[in-house]
């Protein structure tokens, strides 16, 4: 009985460790391109992209670098 309990705890520990190792943030962007078409000079064009956190850990957006 004691051996079974130890084996169960070991397996549970392995499963938990494996889960923690696998946890990772993931950024998913459904639409990655937008074409404004024709637009005038000296204007500000705006477009909104959606960002989704689809991993199994918190996603941190550190910064956005202009292209």
């Amino acid at each position: 009985m004691q051996k079974k309990l130890i084996l169960f705890i070991l397996i549970l520990g392995l499963v938990l460790t494996f889960s923690l190792v696998q946890a990772a943030p993931r950024l998913t962007i459904p639409e990655t391109e937008f074409d404004f078409g024709f637009a005038p000079q000296n204007s500000k064009l705006t477009h909104t992209f959606w960002l989704h956190s689809t991993g199994d850990d918190t996603l941190k957006i550190l910064r956005v670098k202009p292209g």
């Binding site: 990655t32 078409g37 024709f38 000296n42 500000k44 064009l45 992209f49 996603l59 941190k60 550190l62």
Partner: protein, 156 residues
Amino acid sequence: MLAVGDSTRLEIIFTTHRYKNRISKQPRIETNEGQPDKTVKISADILINPDSTYPVVIKPYKLNISQFGEKIRDEMTFKIENVSDLDLKPSIIDIASEFFEIKLPGTIKAGKTIEGVLKLKKDVLEKAFEKTFTIEFNDDAKSRFTIPVQRSLRLP
């Protein structure tokens, strides 16, 4: 920080300055997901002369709905001339919908000019902003036109 399953919006502002012709930009989003960074891409065909476009000519090409007096200015019109020989159907494919709405007819007959209406949302009447909307037409090239909308405030 975005919890698992959450979403957020990323607004890209592209200033066209005095660029000419086709321009693309590819901002990079750095996260704790690691390398490589994810990217989004925006492109535009910058017009030097907005009065000679095809298949439509839009006037004015920049909509300025600024508030300079007491009378609330929340609506303005603009014209779209179909300079092609085909009837065209306009579709609004992108709009800052928290700021305004656009009313257009379903079809613009060949050679005809229609009037579009820009109507501001009540929540933004006391805000200054610069936003855009994009119209796509059903010609072979699926021509798109992005129209800037600007509102400044100079209240008495």
